[in-house]
Structure formats: structure tokens, C-alpha cells
């Protein structure tokens, strides 16, 4: 890498005069040594003499074209490495040579060849999108593409691609600085408090692009040097999250004059201090904590015994990490980034930069710091967005090998034998995600009887009933996925679409940009591991409901069929035999209550997104708050916790701060029964006057009438909110004849 700050750009023949002048290097003038080498290119290639020493960015395009013509006329094939060097150098290869390039080089080749018109920009949008989504990344190619986008003046694309490759090619942070800064200003802010046990300054800088790549504008405030523990015990109040950078020196530094067991005991004591601070954190802090595990050490202190003996560094690391993991298991506020996973792409010996440790107590190398920043940002994104809800799956060549309609049932590959075992492994992964709470949807261009493959083919892992919804016909998939979204009452942004066909993927991206459509590997053998790495599927915290979500949806759909068969709505509701168990939120149910506050968009009166910290604080009666949840069962099954409300109590007045319900049970008068129960509970606490607000959003129109239909009186109304009042004792609290209310403990 000798030309980090040279930005190769496509040149035209008429620019030869000015060649190289802009970057301070002399142009490679024709007729001299380089020219002679290029002229001899065919012979060089035939004899295996490499032309890598030439900086192609500084060779005029006319010269390159002459060389390519020369190679063609002498029947010398253009080798892949030279094609790559030319394209990275800003040159445009003709179609026949370009056809053999990798996807990202083809994209760069197209960028090199375009002049920057608005038409080209539109046409290249899908090329650009694919470039951003590629799994295998060649940092030099992407950096060259970023530079090319810069030259074309396409700042949005420049920033977007820059954020894809900034960690592999950090030079884009300076070359694309203006575009990146403009882009970051459009993103929502995340206030990050950063603390650690070593210097955090370089991580603070890297959190900027890392968070921007996940769609957030990081505003980082650093704690004092080495203040990690202090920050846990007395968290700053004005942050959205605390990032705690762990490192080996802060915990496992040893004085080898001590006896082995004594030394390990000191490590344990430090780890205990950390564990105590982590345990105290959720009570003191209002925001989540992101903490990394300590990665594997570059060198052992007990050789082969490192993981088992008291002298072993790895043993010490394991002890500290164990404490961190235990703390995370106990609290929904503590989220762990696995450093070994985060740093997997950085060779162990390059994860630290010892001179920087001795010079400035930097615990990690530049590359490792970028990788950790990325992993913290991914954790934050998962925390804010949660995993996607629906896995929409193609059938042919995605869930099984072969095409059902053409090849027939017997020919489909899926089962215990090669190559069908790759497909059955993939189906197992789909089943795993279903167990983590994702709904499976089938989206296949086939005759409807293709669903029977899951029952008739002996090798299938998935069963027809594992799919919560299917669209199997010959209609375009973007329209079908919209239909499934309506059927499941979910937005398109909840969908992850997997299809082996690049055309289907591209069509989906164009027609339904809200759907997440990753580039799936063409090789089925790679897909089972690939899908595990898809961050859009990563669960943040698993609640009991997650594993049962698909069953609950199915019960609800069965109930809907009953609805169609029942003579009247009243018959239907009566036949459901619904039970609502109302209870105060307890520590075990805080995660589910918080999850509902994050997820619910439609049946949500105020759309205030209370998190685990805020809900946890309400458990204390002295807080003057009340948080209730309700579980619903009916003759079709257990729906779990589907409704929640919180209220703030001040003397004899109370305000219903949040009131929300899962769409699974809409239209069954559950909300009426729950609202009545809430009013009864408020009365028990001495409340006389209750106020509720409706804050309209684009999605929550259906709850506009909740308070008036229950008998609340309107107090005020403007565009932003309508306020409704209820006076206890004036009328009976609302009830539903179709819901039996019980009080849980």
C-alpha cells in the first residue's frame, strides 16, 4: 500500500497533459521506461513477468487501451490480477474483459466509465446497492469506488459506500470526510458515554463512523482515564448508552513475584469488584451498558497450561469474562459484545500494538479498535431495532436443491446425503430462528401444492405448519410480500427476504425498499453459517414469548377462521372464552413489557418507548408509578403477555402514561377489560381523577376512540394530542362481557 492518499480517477485521453499534477507526483510521461514496459506487456505476460510495480492510476487511458489491443491481437489473455490493477487504477475495461471480473470490480468498472449524468446515477443505483451489500470485500476496490463517487460528485453514494468499507480501508474517512460529515448530520443522535481501563480516545473517534454505518450519529462523551468502575457506580445521567471498553491489562496484569495462587486471587478480587459494579449498574443507570469481553491474549503466560493453571493468562481472562457474562444474564441493561467474534478478522498478533500500549496505554491496535467500534455499534443497532420479525423464504434452490415444478418431488435435494444435507442444514437454521421468535413465511413462485413438499419429501426438516403464512403462486413477489404483511398485521420493515435469485432480490429491493434483502451466497454450502452471521436476525434478549410467537399467531389465525364462521361478532367473542389475567409488572416480566413498548406501533395511545430501566424503576411503589400487564388465553391457546399500561400517580390524580396492546388480540374487547382493571387498581391506590392522552401517529389511528368509547370525557384537543378525563365513582369502570378478568399475584 504505497499510495494511500492518491485517489485514482478515470482519466480521459485529453487529460494526459495534466496527468499526475494534482497529487504532486510527476506524470509517467510516454516514451520512457514505463512506456517501454507497457509496450512489452504481451511478452512480459507470456513469460510470467509481473507488471505490478506500475501505478496504473498514473498511466493515460490511451496507453492502457493500446496495451489491451496489443494483448488481444497477440492472443494473450488479460490475467485477473492485471485486470484488477487496471480497474482499481481508474481504467475502463471493455465488455468482454469485464465479464470475467468479480461483482465488485464490475461495479467499479462501470463507475469508472460513467460521466456523472443524472441518468447514469439512476441506472447505477442498483449497482451501487449491490456494492454496499457484498459479503466478500476487497478494501482497495471499495476505496477506489468511493474515490470515484467523490470525483463524480455523488456525495450520498460516496458516504454510503464509505461507511461500508471504512474499517477495512480507513483512508476513506479522510478522502470522503465531507460527504460523511454531511451524511452523519442527517442521522438520529445517540449520546454515548465512553469509559474504560485504558485510553479510550481512539475508540471515541472510531465510534463515529461505526455508528453512522448503522444509521446513528454518535455523540461521544469520554469519562476520565481508567474510570470504568467509577462510571458504573455513578453513571452520567445524560447518555443514551454507556460503552465500557474492557482490556486485559486492567484486570489480569500480574506481578510475578507473587505466588501463582496469590496472583490469581488478585485477578479474582478485581473481577469481583467489576461484578459488584455491574450488578449495581442497572439500579443506578437510566441507559443500557455495552461491554466487550476480553479477547484471547496474543501470547500465553503458562504455555500449554494457559487455560487451566493459576499462572495462565487465559485462565485469568476467562475468570473476568465469566463475571461479565453472569452480570449480563442477570440484567436486561447489560449487553455483551464478544470480542473474539468482533476481532475474528484481525490476526491475533495484530490485535495489539505494544509500542502504543507503552507510549499511551492504548490496549488495542488501530484495526482492532475499529473492529470493536463496529461491534459496539452493531449491538446498539440490535438494541434499538431488535431482530426482524419475519423470515420470508423462497423455496426452489433456497430451501431445497432443484426446482419442484420442473424436476419433480423425487429429484429435490434435501436430507442427510450430499448435497441435500446443505439444504437440510439451512432449514435447521430457519427452525432455529423460528425458535428465537421469528415468523416463517413462504414466498415461492410455484403451484400452490408446493407446500406439500414439506410433508411428502422425506428429507425436509421444516413442516408446512412451521410457516405462519405462505404466498405460493406465480404473482410477483413484491406484491405477495405486501399481502403477507397485511395478513400478519406487520410492516414491510419487519421482513427479511432470502432468495437465491439475484433478480428476485433486486426486484424486491426496488419495489419494497423497506424489506431487508441481503445478498445470499450462491454456494448453498456457505449459507447455513452465513445466516448465523446476519445481524438482522440476532436476538437481543430472549423472552418466553419469543419461542411461542409463531404458535400464538397460528392460534390467532384459527380464531379468525372461527370469526368468519360465527353468526355474529358476539357469538364469536363468546365462543372464544377469553381470560385476561392482570398483574403488576414484576422483575421477571420487565423484559417483555419493555419489548412491547419498543415493538408496538398500532395499538399504542402515546407511543412512549419505555425501556427496561424505566420500567424497572416503576417496580418500586415509592416511585409513584403503576405498571400493569395482562396475559390472555382463549380456547385456541395462550397468547402470553399482550397488553400493558403504565400510570404516574400524584396524590389523588393519575395520568396514564402508556397504554398499548399487541395487534394479535385486536378487536376482542381485551383493551376495554384491561382499561377497566387499570381504573380499579388506581382507585385502590387512592386515585380519584384519571387523565389519559391520545397522541396520534401515522399508524395508531385505530385507538383514537379508546377513551371516549370507554366513557372518558374530553378535556382538550389539539393537533398533537387529545386529553381525556375520568372521575372515579361517577360511572362504572368499563367491562367486557366476553373477557373474564382475573388478578394475578
Amino acid at each position: 500500500m504505497t499510495s494511500a492518499h492518491l485517489q485514482p480517477q478515470a482519466r480521459r485521453d485529453d487529460e494526459v497533459e495534466a496527468f499526475g499534477a494534482s497529487d504532486g507526483l510527476p506524470a509517467l510521461s510516454p516514451g520512457r521506461l514505463v512506456d517501454a514496459v507497457i509496450a512489452a506487456a504481451p511478452e512480459c505476460l507470456q513469460q510470467g513477468i509481473l507488471l505490478q510495480g506500475i501505478d496504473w492510476a498514473r498511466v493515460p487511458p490511451g496507453r492502457v487501451n493500446a496495451m489491451l489491443g496489443d494483448l488481444g491481437s497477440r492472443n494473450v489473455r488479460l490475467p485477473g490480477w492485471l485486470a484488477r490493477a487496471l480497474v482499481v487504477g481508474g481504467h475502463v475495461l471493455p465488455a468482454d474483459a469485464a465479464g470475467r471480473l468479480s461483482a465488485e470490480l464490475q461495479a467499479l468498472n462501470q463507475l469508472n466509465g460513467c460521466s456523472g449524468s443524472a441518468d447514469e446515477r439512476r441506472m447505477l443505483a442498483s449497482v451501487h446497492r449491490r456494492l454496499c451489500l457484498l459479503e466478500e470485500r476487497d478494501a482497495d476496490v471499495l476505496a477506489a469506488a468511493v474515490a470515484r463517487l467523490h470525483a463524480l460528485g455523488w456525495a450520498e453514494e460516496e458516504a454510503e459506500l464509505g461507511l461500508v468499507c471504512w474499517d477495512a480501508a480507513p483512508r476513506v474517512l479522510t478522502s470522503a470526510a465531507a460527504a460523511l460529515t454531511a451524511h452523519r448530520l442527517t442521522l438520529p443522535a445517540a449520546r454515548i458515554r465512553l469509559a474504560g481501563f485504558s485510553t479510550t480516545h481512539t475508540l471515541a473517534q472510531d465510534l463515529g463512523p461505526a455508528f453512522a454505518a448503522c444509521g446513528w450519529q454518535a455523540q461521544v462523551g469520554e469519562a476520565g482515564f481508567g474510570d470504568g468502575l467509577a462510571e458504573l457506580l455513578a453513571p452520567a445521567g445524560d447518555a443514551d448508552c454507556l460503552v465500557l471498553l474492557m482490556d486485559i491489562e486492567g484486570f489480569a496484569a500480574r506481578d510475578w513475584r507473587r505466588l501463582p495462587d496469590e496472583g490469581l486471587e488478585l485477578v479474582r478480587e478485581r473481577a469481583d469488584l467489576l461484578a459488584a459494579a455491574l450488578a449495581a449498574y442497572p439500579e443506578r443507570a437510566q441507559c443500557p451498558l455495552l461491554i466487550n469481553t476480553i479477547p484471547s491474549a496474543p501470547a500465553p503466560t503458562a504455555g500449554l497450561l494457559d487455560r487451566q493453571h493459576a499462572l495462565g493468562l487465559r485462565r485469568a481472562i476467562d475468570i473476568v469474562n465469566q463475571r461479565v457474562l453472569e452480570a449480563a444474564a442477570r440484567s436486561g441493561q447489560v449487553h455483551v459484545c464478544d470480542a473474539d467474534l468482533a476481532l475474528a478478522h484481525v490476526p491475533l498478533a495484530r490485535q495489539t500494538d505494544p509500542k502504543m500500549w507503552f507510549y499511551g496505554r492504548l490496549a488495542y491496535s488501530a484495526a482492532a479498535t475499529r473492529a470493536l467500534a463496529r461491534s459496539f455499534a452493531q449491538a446498539w443497532q440490535t438494541l434499538k431495532r431488535g431482530p426482524l420479525k419475519v423470515l420470508a423464504l423462497d423455496f426452489d434452490n433456497t430451501l431445497w436443491g432443484g426446482i419442484y415444478g420442473d424436476d419433480g418431488l423425487e429429484a429435490l435435494a434435501c436430507g442427510t446425503d450430499f448435497p441435500g444435507n446443505a439444504f437440510s442444514a439451512f432449514q435447521q437454521e430457519c427452525l432455529r430462528l423460528k425458535g428465537q421468535g421469528m415468523l416463517l413465511a413462504g414466498l415461492s413462485k410455484n403451484d400452490p401444492d408446493a407446500i406439500s413438499v414439506f410433508e411428502r419429501h422425506p428429507g425436509m426438516v421444516l413442516r408446512a405448519e412451521d410457516f405462519t403464512a405462505v404466498a405460493i403462486d406465480w404473482e410477483p413477489k413484491p406484491g405477495n410480500i405486501r399481502r403477507l404483511a397485511a395478513e400478519l398485521d406487520l410492516g414491510l420493515e419487519s421482513f427479511l427476504f432470502l432468495d437465491d435469485s439475484p433478480h428476485e432480490r433486486e426486484a424486491m429491493r426496488q419495489m419494497c425498499p423497506a424489506v431487508t434483502v441481503p445478498e445470499m451466497p450462491a454456494d448453498p454450502a456457505l449459507r447455513p453459517l452465513w445466516i448465523r452471521g446476519l445481524t438482522a436476525t440476532w436476538p437481543l434478549r430472549l423472552t418466553d414469548e419469543d419461542g411461542r410467537r409463531a404458535d400464538m399467531y397460528r392460534a390467532e389465525r384459527a380464531a379468525r377462521s372461527l370469526k368468519e364462521g360465527a353468526a355474529s361478532l358476539a357469538d364469536y367473542l363468546a365462543a372464544l372464552q377469553q381470560r385476561l389475567v392482570v398483574e403488576p409488572v414484576r422483575r421477571e416480566t420487565v423484559p417483555r413489557a419493555a419489548q412491547m413498548h419498543q415493538r408496538t406501533n398500532q395499538f399504542n395511545l402515546t407511543t412512549v418507548r419505555l425501556g427496561e430501566a424505566e420500567l424497572g424503576a416503576m417496580l418500586d411503589e415509592r416511585s409513584g408509578s403503576l405498571a400493569l400487564i395482562g396475559r390472555v388465553t382463549d380456547r385456541f391457546g395462550d397468547h402470553g403477555i399482550v397488553i400493558a399500561a403504565t400510570a404516574r400517580i400524584d396524590g389523588d390524580a393519575a395520568e396514564i402514561a402508556t397504554f398499548l396492546m399487541s395487534c394479535r388480540v385486536i378487536g376482542r374487547e381485551i383493551e376495554t377489560a384491561f382499561l377497566g382493571a387499570l381504573l380499579v387498581e388506581l382507585e385502590k391506590r387512592g386515585v380519584r381523577r384519571v387523565m389519559g392522552a391520545y397522541v396520534p401517529t401515522p399508524k395508531n389511528g385505530q385507538v383514537r376512540e379508546l377513551y371516549p368509547s370507554a366513557g372518558f370525557r374530553q378535556a382538550s384537543a389539539d393537533a398533537e394530542r387529545t386529553i381525556w378525563n375520568w372521575t372515579i365513582g361517577e360511572a362504572e369502570p368499563p367491562r367486557s362481557a366476553f373477557v373474564t378478568v382475573e388478578w394475578g399475584s
Binding site: A4, H5, P26
Partner: protein, 84 residues
């Protein structure tokens, strides 16, 4: 190979871009430009400078070299030693 002739006798013109990135220094650069002449060249930004040099030239500097670098001339000596 002949050494390219340059203004101010700088052998590695890429240094101008690095000094601009790291120190926002856009003034003239000569071999004698030192930490005394560049406002932001403090011990913290020294880390950023060393990392930039390592990444731009694909080299790893030693602790001694980190201490040795006090001026543009020092940087050029180090780069030359690494064959950059």
C-alpha cells in the same frame, strides 16, 4: 532510479496530505518542519501521526522510531529505512 525533484526538498509528497489529515496543517512542509512548527502536533496526535504513517506506507514502526520522529526530515529518514 533518480530521486524526483520536489519543492522544499520533500521526498515523500504524500506527507502533505497526512499532515493535513492529522494536524489540519496546510502550511508549507519542509524537511525541517517539526513539532514546534505544527500547532496540533502534541503527544496525543503523535499517535494518530504514527498510525497514519503505518497505514499509508504499510509498515510497522518501533518504539525507538516513534521517539525519533520529531520533524518531517525524521519521518523521511524512517520511511527510507523501511524501504517505503
Amino acid at each position: 532510479m533518480e530521486a524526483p525533484a520536489h519543492a522544499n526538498g520533500i521526498e515523500y509528497p504524500q506527507l502533505a496530505a497526512i499532515f493535513e489529515d492529522v494536524f489540519q496543517h496546510t502550511g508549507a512542509l519542509t524537511r525541517s518542519t517539526s513539532a514546534d512548527d505544527v500547532a496540533r502536533w502534541d503527544s496525543l496526535q503523535h499517535i494518530a501521526l504514527v498510525r497514519s504513517l503505518e497505514e499509508a506506507f504499510g509498515i510497522q514502526l518501533s518504539m525507538d522510531e516513534m521517539m525519533e520522529i520529531r520533524s518531517v526530515g525524521d519521518i523521511e529518514n524512517v520511511l527510507r529505512r523501511h524501504g517505503a
